[in-house]
Symmetry: C2
Subunit: 383 residues, 2 copies
């Protein structure tokens, strides 16, 4: 088989469902690993029932399961257990996101598997991780977004907290999990030792909030939502223009000076109130008003051009359609297609893990139908 | 040296600044890699000037640079270049987040380095990646949040878009970069081949938005902000109680039935309008009103207990202080301390990459002062 990516040759036995685990194994598949999705017979992964649907198939499922294989196995049935164990012999990694304890009940806990398959890396994602007082509690993305604090610092200043527009609880856990699994595979390659990866969604939220955690620790002030501005850098936010808004990110003194010049207000850069980032942060409301006074004289398009020419990081607030239409998105192959046998051609997010020397095709393999690869896998295992 | 993690023995030459690159190398340091931060003489990493400060030192910098070493080198100075090249001989990975082209000007582009150091993995993070029409444009977190579309789907329904409360543009890129670097290191270990990793912040935003991209592609409707509810699952959102709010995530039919029972409204589960997730999604406003009618009868604390007992994923909306005080956060060692020589003891986010067999100490090494490790590194290189 051709080398599809840096994980070519790695086999993943994937028991994971819905989003956190499947996003991790999706990234592994994009990196060239062979991912064999083991699903319960009948309905398969719960995500197969999440909309939107096209041609009777879940596009939600298609998005994060493309390029995987599927076999339906009942892990409480003796014959299927035997088959699953043959799969584990051939696998490099087992990925699961059951509630802690569930795998032990099936006889497939880390301790048992590590004895029997000493080279198998075992990766678990769960709401709260496999240790601690809440280990056995259920969790979903939304619950973890609420528990972890990210909702409390996202939203209009003084307004109600809002959910992050994507499933950062699940996707965040999937990202950290992929980092840890790849590190575990490297460690195994170098030492022969397999380890257990134990990812907790709540842990990942705390990790993502490193800046807010640090700020609360240092200042004793509980961070709140700040609308569309940065907590510790100014000016670094969305500003009103004559016809809409523009984001300007003047992250250091030099950029602030350029901004003042581009606004034809060079003296602002010399103001004793604005000379350093710390001063600008303290006077942020007044600074914002002064900047907007100038920006309101022209439309967004004018300012994007003028500020860009001045070397200032700036940009529009795109909706999803505008973001997808950005010329750089096409140039970077960040929209790919799959030809799904039921749903037809689907446009999906591409792979941001760009590595030299590996293909990044514009067309990808679709997600498997439930149990689609049973015959091929049985044959491969000589069964 | 003791094995600190799965990346023990890996040496990272780290030219990266501010957040995206440093977050990647921070995770690598947490995984046991030795990270040698190469900073410009004088001011060092720009992030050393970002607040909040304590004892004259940047806690912003301390949070994502703990456990690294520092050497100040002027990469335009011949003697320092020589020293840097000695460092590259000993390094496994070079990480940088300059604008594309900057490394080439220094003579350290991927092509040149790959010829000279064929085993060196080269990892670059930039706003737009190293290819495409916008490759050379500057970008900051905030700009990329605006360009990529995440702001357009986060915020109150019908309200203005808001910034995600953490730097998801930078941190997102750092996470994908760490996944790719670990995969590249594994590939090198297995084949001897080193590759270039080219991470674009905008690419990563599109990747994070896989669900919104898929939805727009399938439905043709541009997703907008939804306040505190999930776009495709219902009921899966924040609800009002007598004294505040509660998040309930009833992600499948079984959980919805349990919810109806816990609310003493078992007949709701049988309603032809609510029988499937798709139906519940279509009738979400009415369903929400019916659920809130019951929830308003008791305070949040009552419902957390009752719904938890019924096995329903639910939770409060914590602020950062409440999140940090969650007993599971302590049990998982997700708050660690460093004793900074200037700032004193700082409480920082812990490491969510939990792997069996490796230490996860409660106290970590602080971030280095600029050039703190020069003498030791020179000695090690025999200079």
């Amino acid at each position: 088989m051709a080398v599809r990516g840096p994980l070519s040759g790695i086999v993943v036995a994937d028991l994971s469902r819905i989003l956190a685990g499947p996003y991790c194994t999706f990234l592994m598949a994009e990196l060239g690993a062979r991912v064999i999705k083991v699903e319960p017979p009948g309905k398969g992964d719960d995500a197969r029932e999440y909309g939107p649907f096209r041609g009777g198939t879940s596009a939600y499922f298609a998005s994060v399961n493309r390029g995987k294989q599927s076999i339906a196995l009942d892990l409480k049935n003796a014959a299927d257990k035997k088959l699953f164990e043959r799969l584990l012999e051939m696998a490099d990694v087992l990925v699961e996101n059951y509630r802690p304890g569930a795998m032990e009940k099936l006889g497939y806990g880390w301790e048992a598997l590590h004895k029997r398959y000493p080279r198998l890396v075992y990766a678990a994602a769960s709401g709260f991780g496999h240790t601690g007082p809440c280990a056995h509690e259920p969790a979903y993305d939304m619950v973890v977004q609420g528990l972890g604090g990210i909702m409390s610092i996202t939203g209009p200043q003084g307004g109600p907290p809002v959910r992050i527009g994507m499933s950062i609880g699940d996707i965040g856990a999937g990202l950290y999990m992929a980092i840890a699994v790849n590190a575990a595979l490297l460690h195994r390659e170098r030492t022969g030792e397999a380890t257990m990866v134990d990812i907790g969604m709540l842990d990942c939220q705390i990790a993502l909030l490193e800046n807010a955690v640090m700020r609360y620790g240092v200042t004793g002030e509980v961070p709140g939502p700040l609308g569309a501005r940065h907590p510790t850098i100014a000016p670094f936010e969305a500003f009103a223009t004559r016809d809409g808004s523009i984001i300007i990110a003047a992250g250091n003194d030099g950029l602030f000076q350029k901004l003042c010049e581009a606004l034809a207000r060079p003296e602002m850069a010399q103001s004793p109130d604005y000379k350093t980032n710390d001063l600008r942060l303290h006077h942020q409301p007044r600074l914002k008003a002064e900047i907007e006074k100038e920006l309101r004289k022209q439309p967004t398009r004018h300012w994007l051009k003028a500020l860009d020419a001045a070397g200032l990081p700036c940009g529009p607030i795109n909706d999803i359609a505008e973001a997808m239409a950005h010329p750089q998105v096409a140039a970077r192959n960040m929209l790919v297609t799959v030809d799904d046998p039921k749903a037809g051609t689907l446009t999906l997010a591409g792979n941001p893990l760009k590595l030299s020397g590996f293909p990044d095709p514009a067309k990808r393999e679709p997600a498997p139908e439930l149990d689609a690869d049973r015959a091929a896998i049985l044959k491969e295992l000589g069964l």
